[in-house]
Amino acid sequence: MPAEPYGLIATFETAADIYHAAEQVRDAGYKRWDCITPCPVHGLDKAMGVKRSIVPRISLAGGLTGFCTGMSMIWWMNSYDYPLTVGGKPLFSPMFAFPISYELTILFTAFATIGGMFIVNRLPMHYHAVLKYEHIRRGLDDRFFVVIEARDPKFNLAATRALLEQAGGLAVTELEA
């Protein structure tokens, strides 16, 4: 007898099928489950009950950091560490510091957004039970999968299998942990 499986995976052929299946799994009260799709499916977040992403908050933090970095760097370098008089102009003014602070806002936002997306998604994760499923390749090509993890408190091998089959899932398979 193999060890406890990672979970159950079911195949769906169309975006409409997985959309309706997701609604049923959500309404059945599962929490630790996922859909595998080759492209983002419109409205699937709502059908799964996924909350709005927190990535933009990380982006905002990055952007503010960038802007403050730019302003304080220029003030420190041209006005404090080595006061540099050019053309009788003030040693520091937010006007001439603005273009560089603006660019650094964007630069830091970009890094925060991408870094934040990877952290929130727990990537890189090169090993994952789902990636060991023999047909998973189709999930990036043209098939849709629903995966329900065994760790979910509501998980019950027979009942969960029945739910997936009743929702229209094909080839419901146990995933190796």
């Binding site: 975006a15 419109h42 370098m77 273009p99 090169h126 998973i136 990036l140």
Partner: protein, 479 residues
Amino acid sequence: MSHGSDQAVAAPAILSEVKPAVLPRPALVANNRSFSWITEKICGIIEEKTPRWWWVCFGVACFVASFTVAGLTYLVSTGVGVWGHRNPVNWAWDIVNFVFWIGIGHAGTLISAILCLLRQKWRTSINRAAEAMTIFAVVCAAIFPVFHVGRIWFALMPGYLFPFPNANYIWPNFRSPLEWDVFAVSTYGTVSVLFWYVGLLPDLAILRDRFFAAGNKFRSALYGFFAMGWRGSNRHWSNYEMAYLVLAGISTPLVLSVHTIVSFDFAVSLIPGWHTTIFPPYFVAGAIFSGFGMVLTLMLPLRAIYKLEDLITQYHIDCMCKITLATGTMVGYAYSMEFFIAWYSANPNESFAFINRAFGHYAWAYWIMITCNVITPQFFWFKKIRHNTALVWILSIFVNVGMWFERFVIIVTSLARDFLPSSWGYYSPSIVEIFTFFGTFGVFSVLFLLFIRFLPIMPMAELKAVTPAADPHAAPDHH
């Protein structure tokens, strides 16, 4: 359909309700292709045996790129005197070529960011290649400011470009638009690479799995490393799409600011012909114009070679031609507005600078510019011309040529005839400059050829998302 006379007779004189006409949306992927067809088509380009034309083009591109290597080697080993710059034209082909290449890059960001925010879904099939074009154009552009200092180790060492204190512990002067440019261009390059990479992530995962299935462990591991273990999870897609949207949102002000700051290099100075407030919008419009010219130049042969007519449809070509037309006309408006302001300002130096541009020693360059940038795009008003792919391609070449001349005209004519008539001069490039510039087309082509050989030239996941099969509600025109 409803023009039948029998219906017209039966209809009441006043309609109780007028329904807006339902305009069918053009299909973005023609012939109702399936998800797996898209995967096979795009991955097939990478998986097939390297075609002979690729090797021929690659060889030619390497040969052309060697001209840049030769020009730069001679420059570094001898000194900047080998370029044709001399008083009063101390800025010439180096900055012309820099602005030219940076401008080309802008269409890539426009397609990937601004059209994303505007929900122009036709961008999907061209955005990957256009973003690649952006990155490679920035690489070509960066060659010039880095090497124009001659002793290149000073450009990379403290003080010249990036904020490190120089030998006297003085930091760079942050009031200078040239220093702003360093930040703008390096941010632009970095964010373009990041944006491109995020877009590539799901497609790299497809390649990882396909090479694994085909038994090519090495390439599977290589693509897999960069795919970060992407598995198409919808919980990931949710964050991914949000991140993509944020990146599009910040790239839009970025692309506008980069060419604005490039134009500050000139506009902040006092040279007649440079010191104008119209420069930022005029430069941005010109950049997008030249970039779309280059997108057409690159995508039309690619479409023909790889038979991508179902993905880059006539509708896509129409859209690109229309943007070229719109931005080209804006550039034409800017040219005429510069003349108007030169007259209206009643500043004799300013008026002279513009009359000299059109009728002075560099009139030949000015009229090449006007012909290529103002007249050429007007052909795109006509559907017959937009549908003639070969003709569109030829016109796109004229756009590229014209935009190079625009920068030449702005920079060289203004400097050659500045305030002091005793120092007026005439600039001609040296052979070293010609070699260096000519070779950048080779550098660009080498990079682009490597891209089409090793990376998916179109974003498969995004293409799938615009097909009807990705719509879970399956009703036409649901959105």
